[in-house]
Amino acid sequence: MSEKRVILQVKGLSKDFQIKGKKLGSKKAVLHALQEIDLDIHEGEVLGVIGESGCGKSTLGRCLVGLHKPTEGEILFEGKSILGVRAKDKLEMCRNIQMIFQDPYSSLDPRHTAADSVSEPMVVHKTVKGRAAMEQRVLELLKQVGLDVQHMNRYPHEFSGGQRQRLNVARAISINPRMIICDEPVSALDVSIQAQVINLLKKLQKEYNLTYVFISHDLSVVKYVSDRIVIMYLGRIVEICNGGDIYKNPLHPYTQALLSAIPPECPDEEKERIVLQGEVPSPIGERKGCPLAGRCPQCMERCKNEMPRLKQQGEEGHQVACFLYEKK
């Protein structure tokens, strides 16, 4: 494969949230949702992001579309920073990166019809002029995502979850973005509907050469759609690998444990389960050392005091943040 063009570059991205104490006069605490994320996203790829609840997957996605303002770091879209741009340029940026939200039930305005919701991005960005042309374009989009003319004047509550997510997809692609952040787009749907929506997303990706950042906690979904996979734990990236490698050759102890938690596909299959001891540490407050240090079965003295960096390991494009592989 030829050298891939980097479309979005994330440099040293951190996001802290201030948490107010519950009691009167108690100190404010800092929650580190994301810490020093470095990531290159290539044009036309599907980048899967997985990790358990609260590891910062969604925060990462929301930082990329500008819903959260990062505490530190840079996000470059085709070399241009998307942070702190002026209002006019911001609209241009919005056009490039769109987002599909996790919850199809709350991400559509209950008082807007399907046609209103789908046409809104085009109205804001003034890509389509005239009522007839707009109607035509909305219909075109609805058909593309498997809906039809009779759905145009319906309200969100009249749709099923899958249909609503299709509407969200239509909304996202309506202004021809280069990149779509999918924040757990199927986790609120039935399994059968999940497959439909995922296949729709894949079809659209091929058609428009879209770049996806596909956030999910479902390993099988991520494996199915992704070209590359990012594994996150407690606000940090612990491993980046190519889609297939994660099953063949997981390197980070956390990834190994995560994979061992997938139920076996066949009941007769014997599977060794790696169970991490203890709870996920709280992301509140300062910590030194590897985030997994307290739970890792192969923890060393060094892990407790020093933060491992993402380093190239083995095959092309396989990066891991673990001291186990640094000595060699």
Partner: protein
């Protein structure tokens, strides 16, 4: 190909037209029986006010001391006469002009200003919210009627000033109702979805936040129409509202109170008209709220 596309086009447009028709606000309101009843009651009152010179003798202030305290239908007086022998029906019709104007006007003044302030405070948050809401709290700290009295003494009497006084006193209540709702709505995911698209603050407020707060405003607004009629009566009662002898429902009710034992019909008639109007506005308001809410289909 082109032909079949053309055919498709037509059937599409037919389907859409049909749906649009059945979804239009008026056709939805027509299906809502209680709302129609409310609309009817309000329309009758408005008609009485507008047609007052035509359907009455046109002299609401004409005094006939001999004919004082006449009962219903006596001497050709449909609703009897008051303590000065003035025809009650005439006074009610002319009073409707004042009372309806004050009720709707004051609610509009308070509602529009309050909604705008509430939207700004809730949406902007932070220091703007704090400052605006503390001012509102300050206004709220005065009893409603006291505040109106102060405003009336400052502004002087007259119908416009009554509208302003009652309207201004209502602003904080509207602002509070709206602000609370905005705080909920602005955190909804569909607002985030709008931000991702890059919509302007104005569009966010006008297209997403306001429509989703409007049902609370309507409910509060219709309740407020009733209280505005009563407030006008109270102000007139204290001699700060509409100057006598101009009729308003409130002033008729007040004069009827003085002779409740001898001529109860004076208070009863004006009270009934206030009651019907209030119920009418409430039913209509509920209906409009349902019409605007896409989830209420029938």
């Amino acid at each position: 190909m082109a032909k079949s596309l053309g055919l498709d086009q037509q059937s599409h447009e037919e389907i859409l037209k049909k749906e649009r028709k059945s979804n239009s606000a008026w056709s939805k309101l027509k299906r809502n029986k209680t709302a129609l009843l409310g609309l009817f009651a309000v329309s009758v009152m408005v008609a009485l006010a507008i047609l007052a010179p035509v359907i009455t003798n046109g002299k609401p202030n004409e005094i006939h001391p001999i004919d004082a305290y006449l009962k219903f239908f006596e001497k050709g007086h449909l609703l009897g006469t008051d303590e000065f022998g003035r025809d009650l029906f005439t006074r009610i019709c002319y009073g409707a002009r004042v009372s309806l104007l004050v009720a709707v006007g004051a609610t509009a003044v308070g509602g529009v200003t309050g909604v705008i302030l509430g939207l700004i405070a809730g949406y902007m948050g932070g220091i703007v919210d704090a400052v605006l809401m503390r001012i509102m709290d300050g206004v709220l700290a005065f009893p409603f009627i006291l505040l109106s009295i102060v405003l009336m003494t400052v502004l002087g009497s007259g119908i416009i000033n009554v509208i302003l006084a009652i309207g201004i006193a209502e602003i904080p209540r509207f602002a509070r109702v709206v602000r609370g709702q905005v705080l909920i709505v602005k955190k909804e995911e569909y607002c985030n979805a709008g931000r991702v698209i890059g919509i302007s603050h104005f569009r966010m407020l006008a297209h997403h936040i306001l429509p989703n707060t409007v049902s609370e405003v309507i409910v509060y607004g219709t309740l407020n129409i009733a209280s505005a009629i009563i407030s006008e009566a109270a102000l007139s009662f204290l001699g700060l509202g509409i100057e006598l002898p101009t009729a308003s429902w409130g002033s008729i009710l007040r004069s009827g109170r003085n002779c409740l034992n001898t001529a109860p019909h004076i208070a009863a008639v004006s009270g009934t008209f206030i009651l019907i109007t209030v119920i009418g506005f409430n039913l209509l308001g509920d209906g409009i709220r349902d019409v605007l809410d896409p989830k209420m289909k029938k």
